[in-house]
Symmetry: C2
Subunit: 399 residues, 2 copies
Amino acid sequence: MTVREAVRGHETRRSALQDMLALTERPGIISFALGLPATELLPADCIAEAATKVLRDEPYALQYRPPTRDLKECVVNLMAQRGVACGVEQICITSGAQQGLSLLSHLLLRVGRRVLVEDLTYTGLLQAIDPFCPAIRTVPAAYAEGIDVEAVERELGSGSLPAFMYVMTDGHNPLGSCLSATTRASLAELARQYRVPIVEDDAYGFLRYDSQGLPPIRALEQDWVFYVGSFSKILAPSLRVGWLVVPEELTSRLSAIKEALDINTMTFAQRVVTVYLRSGRLVPHLATLREEYRKRRDTMLCSLRQHFPPEACWATPGAGVFVWVELPEGYDASKLLKEALATAQVAFLPAEAFAASTRLARRNGMRLNFSGCTLDQIEEGVARLGHVLRSHVETLAAD
Amino acid sequence: MTVREAVRGHETRRSALQDMLALTERPGIISFALGLPATELLPADCIAEAATKVLRDEPYALQYRPPTRDLKECVVNLMAQRGVACGVEQICITSGAQQGLSLLSHLLLRVGRRVLVEDLTYTGLLQAIDPFCPAIRTVPAAYAEGIDVEAVERELGSGSLPAFMYVMTDGHNPLGSCLSATTRASLAELARQYRVPIVEDDAYGFLRYDSQGLPPIRALEQDWVFYVGSFSKILAPSLRVGWLVVPEELTSRLSAIKEALDINTMTFAQRVVTVYLRSGRLVPHLATLREEYRKRRDTMLCSLRQHFPPEACWATPGAGVFVWVELPEGYDASKLLKEALATAQVAFLPAEAFAASTRLARRNGMRLNFSGCTLDQIEEGVARLGHVLRSHVETLAAD
């Protein structure tokens, strides 16, 4: 028996994202595959200034130290900008949204229980729940309206309740959808009625393009909604700072879980984020991001109209960093990806990468990211993809 | 039903350490309670320089990026200084040693399996395994010799094997012990013979005072030893950077588990550590730490001889940051702690805080940290504790 055979732990599946992250480093590739923020817009100078200030002014900057109120107070202010009223006692600071999802899975799940997700959902959630071997129940989701609320109601009414349901309210990953006011209200009401927690992932909620937008579900229901926020998309991913807004009586349990996972200490990165936020720079930075990402989104939509076959469908995403393109039935986006990589040096992610169950019927969707490429790259990449699609159709026709 | 009642996840126990961390912030307290590195020796200037360099020179410093070889190469060199030969393919970078323990628990454990630990052990390991509700088996450990190898052999020979055994080779937390060459060799041999992985926690192995010291067990056995290292005690805790050395065929599984817990990305802190290590400053910094901590240790031992009753026993710790004091049988260190806090403003941790099972027979041990206090504080704090002990004896006599 080798050590590999002796290792009896549960095997966590690797997401397609890590392979794609390695791939995007290959020169010449135009990648729409990941949800990367624009590298050139990351505020390196301001972060350097904040880091220097922290190390100069805070004698305990590098020491173990319990999480402080400072950052939580900043988060409370930020949540107010999203239309959510909460207090510092309801905030848990996390190492990014992914750790937020993992902490909530540890809090809410027991081995083998049900989790309710959309049939196309964020892979990180599937990884976070994976150690608990949950029974995954799915409801349909569409790129225009997002989650199918009637299906949620049928599922909850069917008897065995899930430990929680997972929802992305704005800038859905991968679908790009934003939920309507009615849908938000219905989900809040269902959570209350069936006493099922909603894990609301709002990683993209601050990247809203066309209007003020609607507050997240947490603004409508504070007992049954567990809100997940992150600085990765609005400040910098490699700082790994995010937060949860949860019912106050559960924060101490979450802090014990965090202690078990990585010691619940105020990290250097958390101090840097605190100083950055207190400098008041996030608001203008967010305005810059929204303006630039809106341009990139519009360029992508324009290029799609120009280069994609008329049978392809998409909507204008009101928030987030993804456009979801649905090809006519019969298309297999996974096969297309292989062709696009081989013949056109363009990457994206196919529907299959986001399938919550292996029985996914729809294989004809493509997730295209617009935040991580320049306008020129977007035009060039979509043109190349359009070319691949046309050749693909000709091949299909010739078959 | 409230949300608290609806939350069905497993309740992770909070360690005494977090409460103590909050307590140490109270003015006037002399705390020997935690394993804090000396705040005034943390290299803030060098870290600030490294952070500025990273943000100036690395265009992707704040972006998602897969873990790179750079830091792993630095770790391979560091391991060579510990007498361990390994390759970059065997290294996983973690968010501190605690995440290392959590990752290995996810890798090695399934719900309900056995874990073999010492009866007094590091609480962080107990928290890391807690989500898997393991059956905890214990073997005795002593402050002079550390783990009882014969008891380990009896336990392994008894039939049902544990998923892994947890060992601290040098500077044991809480006992301060370093294992003999014979014990190291025996443990390596037992791991091979019974095909049971050893999780070797070496957080304090680089803080060795009296001699070159012995290499860790990983130097004797590379298939069955999973080594846990950390920069928290030798560089800075709040950077949260540590590492694992594991069999090469398991690194990709660990990287998938890490992705599920917090996204496996090269963090800003990891880049800063890389630049710091490449500057060659760690070796002289370690020499400074060893020299200063040796002085603090010796001052503590000297103060103990002066102020503690002659029936109290302790050994000279050859590594790490803790002295373990064993009081005569019948003493209850938890009660003493309450008295010490109330009447003398001194904190330490009692044996009870490190008990692997609730049936701990020995309540008469005290863990005293010497790295986090100045020489004056150590003399004053031990003198005060000695006074509390004498009053305690008089109270016992009067009862």
